[in-house]
């Protein structure tokens, strides 16, 4: 088993994901609203609006995927650092026990987030994170089935959740 994971430092911060999300959103909006594109010839205004909405929805999903990846990186790096740096707090001890068993292959939802859910006073936030990763699973695997997610997810909701998770796991 790998003893120590080398961090690539290529993981994105939530603000970097947000910045990219906003720039692309503005660009798509400008493409549809402020310029006359030749491919729009023959469109009704309703068709143009629908296409813009579909592009924005698709962009939102792509950004959700990117943000959820950044959340995963944050949670996994936190888990590994707590194990490597031998912190004495309860959660770090329990994570080291988990690391002894499963190493870097600990499951994000079933192990790391479940542990946080058990140990944190904000169980609800970690439950929401587990649900959000079901949404990530659905996005990442091609959305070909009808997911049972319990709620709708979008970038704004996930960004707020990401910031809350970051605040809760800070040590």
């Amino acid at each position: 088993m790998i003893k120590r994971v080398s961090f690539s430092h290529q993981n994105l911060t939530f603000d970097e994901v947000l910045g990219h999300h906003i720039i692309v959103e503005k660009s798509v909006y400008a493409y549809y609203r402020t310029t006359m594109q030749p491919e729009f010839v023959g469109y009704t205004l309703r068709e143009l609006e629908n296409e813009l909405k579909n592009r924005m929805d698709e962009h939102d999903r792509t950004s959700c995927l990117s943000l959820l990846s950044a959340i995963e990186a944050l949670l996994r790096m936190d888990y590994l650092q707590r194990c490597y740096e031998k912190e004495k707090d309860d959660i770090s001890r329990k994570m080291r026990a988990l690391h002894k068993q499963k190493g870097y292959r600990a499951s994000l939802e079933d192990d790391i987030l479940e542990l946080w859910k058990q140990e944190s006073a904000s169980r609800e936030t970690f439950s929401q994170a587990i649900a959000a990763f079901k949404y990530r699973h659905w996005l990442a695997h091609g959305r070909y089935w009808v997911p049972k997610l319990g709620r709708e997810f979008d970038f704004d909701y996930l960004y707020a959740l990401a910031c809350e998770l970051e605040r809760l796991i800070e040590y």
Partner: protein, 185 residues
């Protein structure tokens, strides 16, 4: 105040009132419907041999179109049946981007748009005008592409699906090719 000043004021107000006359949507709709009739006439002409021997059946029925300016009106949908496969020419309307009218040619293999455009527009890029202004100089007055003194000649053109959207003349050869593509098994 001089009488001359008052006369200028009245003339200006008159100009403003004629400039803000409401757009004649009824005329726009009627023009579209007459071009639609001409399009269907061409289609029936292209297929006359097959219609005559009963190998192709062409029927028309009315559908309702609802557009913001014109409100609700009816237009004819043309259905062409070749064997078991119908291809419909569905009128979409006249309030559109960059063209005066559109008919969607729908078959089991997809949709090809037929658009009514200024005959000078040979490709989609012709709809775009690029203006270069030099920093520090007065920008040149915007020039419309339709500034030609000749009246606009409207022509139906076939528009292939994106991403490589291209215009094709609406003639017998291109229409039959499009029909074949849409009605294929």
């Amino acid at each position: 105040m001089s009488k001359d000043e008052f006369r200028k004021f009245v003339e200006e107000k008159e100009k403003e009132s004629t400039a803000t006359q409401p757009f004649d949507w009824k005329k726009e709709k009627d023009t579209y419907l007459s071009f639609l009739d001409a399009l269907y006439k061409d289609v029936k002409d292209f297929l006359k041999e097959y219609i005559a021997n009963g190998k192709i059946i062409v029927t028309e029925r009315q559908i309702e179109i609802d557009e913001e300016g014109t409100g609700k009106y009816t237009a004819n949908l043309l259905e062409i049946v070749i064997g078991k496969h119908p291809v419909q020419l569905v009128p979409i309307g006249t309030q559109l981007i960059g063209c005066k009218g559109r008919v969607d040619m729908k078959g089991r293999k997809g949709v090809i748009k037929i658009v009514l455009v200024n005959s000078r527009m040979k490709s989609l890029r012709d709809h775009i005008q690029v203006t270069i202004n030099e920093v520090g100089k007065e920008p040149a007055p915007a020039k419309s592409q339709d500034e030609s003194t000749e009246p606009i000649q409207w022509k139906w053109r076939l528009l292939t699906a994106p991403p490589i959207s291209k215009y094709h003349d609406f003639n017998e050869e291109c229409f039959l090719q499009a029909l074949m593509e849409l009605a294929r098994d």
